[in-house]
């Protein structure tokens, strides 16, 4: 058995064990921590498959931001799951078994793992992306050129999904004041993490580097793993860290709520305007070759950079705004 297969099997074993443990736990804080572990192991599996960009996204979103958001939710509700009566567990079991059975059945049609004749290897479009993208676009990281140029429509769709999800969450959280929000005011037991001097100093020390790293990931996405999605999440993580340590009000002074909310549509608008600019310059929607007349490669570079920037703006806006909404409800509880 090769080392590669052994590592894959071990990681999949940990993944399965984590999933089973999550489903059996009633303590929700522990379950949240285990979902972070689940994401971390998935990210390691993606690294083993050479999908570094996906692994990066999984690590940033799954381990980082979503764990913090889960904890924010748990602060609003109870930390222990109710016991479901046995009779009501049956429909869920049937659905899970059916869905799982269908997935296992469908997986028989998948090509063999590590096979040399899988569609990914032999399909002509693979060759187009891997070889011709170097002449057409000249970006070393093919993932970025596929994501931001060849498949720019798909990425726009993904961005719209994030936008919709973010707006929906904000509408649910921000419109109606929560139960008991105004009456009680700020609880006396409110613990401010800024009281811990070491934490305060270290987080202030790290904060500029986190934001700098976000920009590095954004602008370096053409050459290495990274891009708008990861950069947006890391940028938001910096503000979430500040909000966690210094309180939501402190973070609001740095990034006012209207600004965070305005970032959400701003990214999408920038993206669409970029696509329309390609049309006005004689190409098709989201065609970047005409952005720099006479130099299609430079046009592609500019287009990719602007696509990544707009993705980053929307993602960062959604993450920061959603976190602030959760956290301010907790602070006002």
């Amino acid at each position: 058995m090769s080392m590669f297969v052994l590592m894959n099997l071990t990681l999949f074993g940990i993944l399965a064990a984590t999933a089973v443990t999550i489903s059996r736990l009633r303590a929700l804080y522990e379950a949240t921590m285990l979902t972070a572990l689940f994401s971390l192991v998935s990210a390691s599996l993606f690294v083993l498959m050479d999908a570094v960009d996906v692994a990066f996204t999984e690590a940033a979103v799954g381990v980082g931001i979503s764990t913090v958001l889960f904890l924010g939710v748990l602060a609003l509700t109870r930390s222990r799951e109710d016991v479901t009566p046995r009779i009501r567990q049956w429909p869920a079991r049937v659905v899970v078994l059916l869905a799982g059975g269908m997935l296992v059945y469908a997986s028989q049609d998948l090509p063999r793992f590590e096979g040399a004749t899988t569609p990914v290897q032999v399909h002509p479009v693979t060759d187009v992306y891997l070889r011709e993208s170097q002449d057409d676009i000249g970006v070393p990281n093919t993932v970025t050129s596929v994501l931001a140029s060849y498949r720019a429509h798909d990425t726009l769709g993904e961005l719209v999904v994030i936008f919709t999800a973010g707006v929906a969450v904000l509408l649910l959280l921000a419109s109606s004041p929560g139960p008991g929000r105004r009456e009680e005011g700020e609880g006396p037991a409110e613990l401010v993490l800024a009281d811990y001097r070491v934490l305060r100093v270290i987080s202030k020390l790290l904060l500029p580097f986190i934001l700098l790293f976000a920009f590095y990931v954004l602008f370096h996405g053409e050459y290495g793993p990274g891009g708008g999605f990861q950069a947006g999440v890391i940028f938001a993580a910096g503000f979430v860290l500040y909000g966690l340590v210094f309180g939501v009000d402190g973070a609001r002074r740095v990034l006012p709520r209207p600004l965070a909310w305005a970032m959400i549509p701003l990214g999408i608008l920038l993206y669409v305007v970029l696509g329309l600019a390609g049309m006005l310059l004689g190409g098709e929607f989201l065609d970047f070759q005409g952005l720099r007349p006479g130099d299609p490669q430079a046009g592609q570079h500019l287009g990719i950079l602007l696509v990544e920037t707009s993705v980053g703006i929307t993602v960062a806006g959604v993450m920061v705004a959603v976190f602030f909404s959760f956290a301010s409800r907790r602070a006002a509880r």
């Binding site: 613990l191 993490l193 811990y196 070491v198 934490l199 270290i202 020390l205 790290l206």
Partner: protein, 107 residues
């Protein structure tokens, strides 16, 4: 004895000792009697274990670009690991978690 062999030996030793620290951290997390001793074990994994493993990798790097990244990761771990252990211990202290004394049952 050539320089590269020495480097390889130092790197392997560092990786091995680092792995032992990670392993002992995991065992400590399972076996230690109370919260404070357990976060001591977890902190050992973060600082000594990860630090030594990264040092071992640093001795193996081909170019300075990778080395710079590894040094940055080491610095980041050195800052965040002890901070999180400290904050956990402080928070437990505020919540009134008592320190385990010899002879008491495991908590």
């Amino acid at each position: 004895m050539s320089a590269s062999l020495l480097l390889d030996l130092a790197s392997s030793a560092s990786l091995l000792v680092g792995s032992l620290f990670v392993l002992s951290g995991g065992i400590g997390l399972l076996r230690f009697p109370d919260f404070y001793t357990r976060i001591h074990a977890a902190g050992l994994t973060d600082s000594a274990g990860a630090g030594l493993i990264l040092l071992g990798l640093l001795l193996q790097t081909p170019g300075w670009e990778t080395a710079v990244r590894l040094v940055l990761i080491v610095l980041f771990m050195l800052l965040t690991g002890p901070t999180s252990t400290h904050v956990l211990a402080q928070a437990a202290g505020r919540d009134g978690v008592r320190v385990w004394r010899a002879g008491e049952p495991r908590r």
